[in-house]
Each structure stands twice: as C-alpha cells, then as structure tokens.
C-alpha cells in the first residue's frame, strides 16, 4: 500500500507508455517499437474498456487509474475487473479527485496505491483504511 502526495494530485506523466480512454486506440506516449517486450506503465481513463488494453497487461508493472470526480464509480469497477477478470497483480495507482474518505473503498476494490488530491490530509488518510472492523463483502486483494 502506497500513499503518494503531489502538488496537484496528478502523477508525473513522462513514465507512461499508453493511455486508454473509451473506445479509442491507445495514445502512445513512448516509441511504439519498444513497447512489446518491456514492462510498461499504463494510464487508464474512467471510460476505458478493459478489452482494449488487455494484451498489454502481461507486461504492465504499473497502472495509473484516473478518478475524474470523487462521485465517479467507474474506476472502482475497473480496478475490480483488472484484479478479478484479468488477474493483474501489479500496482494500481489511483489519481485525480482522490479524497481521504474514499481510500477505504478504493482499497477494497484492489487499488493499492493512491495519489491524494491536493489539500487532503495525508497523515489521516491512511487511517481511513481499515476503519471498519467488519465488512459485508469480501475484499478484492491486490
């Protein structure tokens, strides 16, 4: 579990190899020639369809998952699909409108790294995980 704080709540972008959004072809940020055999970092927008990027998951070492608004539930399902359907075991790092109050649910969907929105209290944020001693659903583990 990792907590990352940045000035604006967004991760550094130069490391990213691909960005998926909706039905679009992926946006190649690095030289596509090199992409096949090297471990890569993927960025997934909330409207992305997992089928579109599943071939790249085998090489992925880091998935950056965008939470566009704290009320947007799609990244929760995307994380669950990555873990349960694609058996992705690497890091899923959520960024965007990530607030301390949401860390617990995000974590329970299999997200194991968080870039907090600017202004959120980093110290108390991790205490939110495990606040409840019981849940009514199994957690999706990272």
């Amino acid at each position: 579990m990792k907590l990352i704080t940045t000035v604006n709540g967004y991760p550094e972008h130069q490391e990213i190899d691909f960005i998926w959004s909706g039905y679009e072809e992926p946006l190649h940020l690095n030289d596509p020639e090199q992409r096949s055999n090297t471990a890569s970092t993927l960025q997934i927008e909330a409207d992305a369809l997992p089928d579109a990027f599943q071939h790249h998951l085998a090489n992925a070492r880091l998935i950056l998952l965008h939470l566009p608004a704290f009320t947007d539930g799609r990244p929760y399902s995307l994380a669950a699909i990555l873990r349960q359907h694609h058996r992705y075991e690497g890091e899923i790092r959520v960024f965007g409108d990530v607030r301390a109050e949401q860390l617990d649910h995000l974590h329970r969907c299999g997200i194991n790294s968080f870039v907090l929105k600017a202004g959120e209290d980093a110290e108390s944020a991790l205490d939110k995980i495990g606040y409840f001693s019981k849940w009514y659903q199994p957690n999706i583990s990272a």
Partner: protein, 551 residues
C-alpha cells in the same frame, strides 16, 4: 426478524462514529460542502425546503415493537413528534437538526436501526412483500434473501458511486405486492421440479421516464444471486450515463443497449464471478432463514365472523372484510392497519401512534409489524379470535379505518409542503380527495381503486402505476396536476396513460370523482377500473373528466 449480532452492532457503531467525525469536520470547515453532501446523503440526510429530512431504513419493511417505541421517542426528542412512512417502506423525519444528527443516528443504532444508503447514488433499501412468510399464495419466503441482499449492498465498495440511485425489490408470492416490474432490479422467487429459482427483472422504474422492466434471466439458481447481481451492477456502473442525471438510471442503459446486448454484457461480466467466493452456500442461506423461522403459533383452527369469531357490530364486519387477510397458519390472520385517515397526511404517524402500534404488535402479533409500500402497517400474525379486541383497540387510536385498497387508501408523497424537489403540493390534494370519498358506504360501493399522487416527476407517489395517477406540475408558478389513468403496479404492471391537459388544484378532486362516476356508470359486475377502461376506451373517461371545467 433478523437479529443483529455483535459484529453487526459494532459495524453500526463505527458507522455512527465515522459520521460524527465527518459532521464535526464539516462544521469546522475542514470538509468541503460538496463532499459532505454526498457523505450525509449516504446516511439518509437531505436538506429540504424548511429543514433537513432524515430517511430511516426499515429493511423490507420489518420493524419490531421495540424499534417502533424508539422511533416514537426519537420523533419527540429530535423532531416535532411525528414521522412519515414512505413508498420504500422507510420512515422519514421532517425536522431534525444537522448538528444533532450524530446523536440521532446513535439512538437508532441502539435498536439496530440506521439510515445507511437511504439516499444518494447507491443501492437503496431492499423492499419486499409485506405479507412475506404469511401470505397464502407464497412460493417461498423472500425475507432471508432480502436480508442477504441488505447486507451485501451495505457499504459495497464497488457500488457506492453509481450513476444514479438503485432500487431492488423482491417477492416470493404469486401475486406481486412489491411492484418488482418498476424497480431497477426486480426479483421473483419461483419454483419448479428442480427447486427454487429467481426470475431477474431489470430496468423498470418510474420517474421522468416510466418503464416496465424486462426479464433478463428466467431461471437463476439462488446460489448465484450475489454474483449475478454484481455483474448487473458492474455493467451499470461502467456504462450507465453520468452526463445527464435524468438519463442515468439503469432503465435508460437497458433501453439504449437493448435487452439482448445488455443481457450478453451481464453474462460476460458474470463469467468471471460465477461460482466464485460470493456464491451462496446452502449453510449460509440456511443461517439467514433461521432468523425468519415461524413464530410460536398456537394450534388453532380457522374461524370467521359467521363461525367462531364473536362479532360485535357491523363496522367490525366491514373492517374484517376489507382489512383482514388470510394466513398460512390455521387460526391466524394478517391485519392491515390503515394510515390513511381524515385530517392526517397519508402515511403520517404521531409518536403516540407509533407507541400504540408497538403495544398492539406486542399484544397481538409477536412484537413485530410491517410497513407496506402503500404507506400502511401490517400486523402479520394475529389470532383470529382476537380480531374483535384488536379492532376495538385500533379504534381508540383512530387506526381502524376499513379502506384497504379503496379510493381513500391513496399513495401520496410529502410533496411541496416539505420536499424541495416538488413542483406542487400533494398532501392537500389527498385531503380534498379524501373528503370527496369520505362516505364509507359510497367508497365501498365504488370498490378497489388506487389513486397515487406525486408532487413532481420523480414519482415518489408512484403516480404512473395508480389506476388514477396525479402528478404535480408547475405552470408559470402555479400548481397544476396532470392525470393519468390505467396504471397497475403488480404482476400485470403497466404505466397509466395521460388523460389530457393538467387541471388546477381546486378542481382535481372533482375530476377524480367524475372519473370514478364514469367507471361506475360503465362497469359490469366485478369489473375493475382498468378492465372497464380497457373495454370502454379512454375517450369516455376523458370527456367525463373535463366536462364543465373552468381551466
């Protein structure tokens, strides 16, 4: 009914603590208003016209005498001594104060009650048949499944931020008293030679775009219920529209994708989950079922007013005929208690009413009561020989009205008197109609009729599925009402058709009366309002309704 264990109680306590911290942070300016709004909504707290409104969950409508007494005390200590039963079998307080809310939720938790997910874009209270476990047409008791779903949906990590609210109803009887076809998900327990199974209906709903749901699985093995619903919710969470809240319900997605493609998407998502860790074991559902075992019934034989029950007077016989229902157990009856009373808003109860209901539940029905989605109360397990005594006791509290399913048994939302969404008031309309049909003799002669009133198109008053539906609309700042007729909520669910131009508040009860007169004039013996409408056609009702109107 379901008994909380220590883990359940600790969970509820932690939820209260969490909300107390969030409220403190908000009041100190440390939590942004737009974020606190979402957090308070998921604890049932709205900000209404005049004050906050708290919606307290009554899971599938089952409530104990102890809980009713606690609710009575809470209405006194935190509110103005009354509350309102809703069409989702919940209860609402109209005047609580925000800073007192953590204490109020703490008091609810003392009696294993809460307001979790009674609002917000998440899975709402699970509703069911008020006669679950006692209905003579029951295939299987839906309550163990309803409780299982309540637990599964409570703070579900993946489905707390859906595109829009999400309502699930479940029935286990031949007659559908839970209106499953107008829910986001409707579940119907059925059985055949191979055992129990669920029919899964999806995409029904009222509101701005009323639609009857479609059946996407005609035979789901019960053990797959959670994994299958997870798949449905996952597809909705991913693909439901988030750009327009009026197009965000699952019904719009089902319609846009088409039933076949939607079903295929669900099945695709389900393949990952099916037979996984959330598959329901027989042991697990048996543990839930233990909570709903039959009470300690006495060995009795069936009695009627003409044989066995000592009848005292004619009002009793009328009440018996209208409000007493048959029961699975010989010698017992289910009793419908009307909350549609002269001078009281439909579904409203005072603290004294709540205490009276608690006492009667203790004395006559194993300490339990049920809330119906028509905003009434049921005592489900009453000895038939005690019915005259119960009737007398109800009379002392103005709870003895014999109008179940009749014209004055209206479903009515709080409307413009309380609700900030409303375009028009609904309680005064209900009052005017009540006055029109006040004569019991005439009302009984008219027979079964559902009149449903909503103050806006969000349709909390289920106007689309009333035989006569009344919808409040705002016409240049004035309150007008649009009428629809022919709606039906049950197993033959259908949406009413709009009658014509909307009418002013002062005239609405006359129009309703003329519609009923038209029905009485044309009906054959035993024909329902909708059957007459179907046979005669809408035009006859239309001309009757608008004859001589001034607006």
């Amino acid at each position: 009914m379901y008994q909380y264990n220590q883990d359940d109680q600790r969970f509820l306590q932690q939820r209260c603590d969490q909300f107390r911290e969030q409220t403190t942070q908000f009041l100190a300016g440390e939590l942004p208003a737009e974020e606190f709004q979402q957090l308070r909504l998921r604890n049932g707290l709205y900000i209404q016209r005049l004050a906050p409104m708290l919606r307290i969950a009554i899971p599938y409508g089952e409530v104990s005498a102890k809980q009713l007494r606690a609710l009575a005390a809470i209405t006194r200590d935190f509110d103005k001594g009354y509350a309102h039963f809703t069409t989702r079998q919940n209860i609402q307080l109209n005047w609580p104060k925000l800073d007192a809310m953590p204490d109020l939720l703490g008091r609810l938790a003392e009696v294993d009650m809460h307001a979790i997910q009674t609002s917000g874009s998440c899975i709402r209270n699970i509703t069911s048949d008020q006669f679950a476990g006692v209905a003579t047409d029951e295939i299987a008791d839906p309550r163990p499944w309803a409780e299982l779903l309540r637990q599964w949906s409570t703070l579900h990590p993946e489905f707390n931020w859906l595109p829009r609210k999400f309502k699930i109803a479940i029935t286990g009887a031949e007659s559908d008293r839970a209106a499953i076809a107008v829910h986001d998900i409707g579940l119907r327990l059925q059985s055949d030679d191979a055992g129990l199974y669920f029919e899964v209906w999806v995409g029904g709903g009222l509101g701005r775009t009323p639609l009857i749901g479609v059946c996407i699985n005609t035979r789901l093995e019960p053990k797959h219920l959670i994994t299958y619903l997870t798949a449905v919710l996952r597809v909705y969470n991913q693909f439901g529209r988030r750009d327009n809240k009026y197009k965000a319900r699952i019904k719009i997605l089902v319609k846009a994708m088409g039933q076949l493609d939607f079903t295929a998407a669900v099945n695709n998502a389900w393949q990952t989950l099916k037979d996984g860790p959330e598959t329901i074991s027989e042991d697990s559902i048996a543990r839930f079922a233990e909570h709903f075992s039959r009470p300690n019934y006495l060995t009795l034989t069936d009695q009627t007013p003409s044989g066995g029950i000592i009848t005292t007077d004619q009002p009793f016989e009328r009440w018996y005929a209208q409000n007493v229902l048959a029961h699975q157990q010989p010698g017992y009856a289910a009793v419908h208690i009307s909350l549609k009373r002269t001078g009281v808003a439909p579904g409203d109860v005072s603290d004294r009413d709540l205490e009276a209901l608690a006492d009667l539940a203790d004395r006559y029905s194993f300490g339990e009561a049920r809330v119906t989605h028509e905003q009434n109360i049921v005592l489900a397990d009453v000895e038939q020989t005690k019915l005259p005594e119960l009737f007398q006791a109800l009379g002392m509290h103005n709870l003895d009205r014999a109008n179940r399913g009749l014209a004055t048994d209206m479903i009515c939302c709080p409307g413009g008197d309380y609700c900030s969404l409303a375009n028009a008031k609904s309680i005064p309309v209900a009052a005017a109609i009540e006055e029109t049909f006040h004569d019991a003799e005439a009302e009984h002669h008219l027979g079964s009729l559902s009149i449903n009133i909503s103050g806006c198109m969000n349709a909390c008053g289920h106007h689309h599925v009333g035989n006569i539906g009344i919808l409040g609309v705002d016409k240049k700042g004035e309150e007008f009402y649009q009428l629809s007729i022919g709606g039906e909520p049950g197993e033959d669910a259908r949406i009413g058709r709009i009658l014509g131009p909307s009418v002013a508040r002062a005239e609405i009860h006359w129009v309703v009366q003329r519609l009923t007169q038209c029905y009485q004039q044309h009906r054959t013996v035993e024909e329902t309002f909708n059957q007459t409408l179907d046979r005669v056609g809408i035009e006859a009702f239309k001309s009757a309704a608008y004859e001589g109107l001034t607006s």
